[in-house]
Symmetry: C2
Subunit: 114 residues, 2 copies
Amino acid sequence: MPRSSRRRTPPTHPAAEEIDLLDVLHALSDPTRMTIVRTLRAEPERACGTFPVDVAPSTLSHHFKVLRESGLIQQREEANRRLTALRGAELEQRFPGLLDTVLAAYDRTAGAGA
Amino acid sequence: MPRSSRRRTPPTHPAAEEIDLLDVLHALSDPTRMTIVRTLRAEPERACGTFPVDVAPSTLSHHFKVLRESGLIQQREEANRRLTALRGAELEQRFPGLLDTVLAAYDRTAGAGA
DNA sequence: ACGCAACTTCGATGACTGTCGAACAACGGA
DNA sequence: TCCGTTGTTCGACAGTCATCGAAGTTGCGT
């Protein structure tokens, strides 16, 4: 297989109707990913490197993949950046109130801290 | 160590204020445990063996332990049974609306099936 | 053209998870 | 007292997970 098969593939996302609740819950149960989602809540779109998490770039990339495949986030390429956004509207349509409730619950316990 | 150390220990539960959202989300992200919680929703208290899940007793015991340690359920001993109940009120107090929203989301996709 | 910046992919590693079967403990009834 | 029911604990095992470093790709600036 040619070396070019190693090319960076454009991100793929599940359709809104395919989003699985159990996958979403699992994605949210990791602290790093929860931080990413919370950050995205405040700011609509961010580049990968701009999240306040302290892990190696390769680890971060892994977490984005999990979030993407669960349907929580969306990524589009722009230049050599990858811009990440919450799939807020689709999530709301499929699981009304879920994201709000979960994030409110997190805020309530993790406190306003961070 | 004496054989009696192998005695069955009474179930312990985290205090309401100690319930961790990430632990709860993780606990709910498994299909077997989600089924247990959903079943408990309909019926207030059940014995371990009466849940509509198809796993070995030892596996079921493991799932109860995860649910108990996450704070989702409560178990009390009665004779040689262990009765399981949702910690609905405490959960509601700590994470308002969470359980309702999550279970509604599950019902919506998994359908009325089961 | 060269190098830097931004991410991704690969491979490895140690930790955790879901699963089971076997053995054990506790209780109630025959 | 012996037995069946109920459920737990232990040990094992295969699969998944979070993490990292190294290497690779892409695109922008210089």
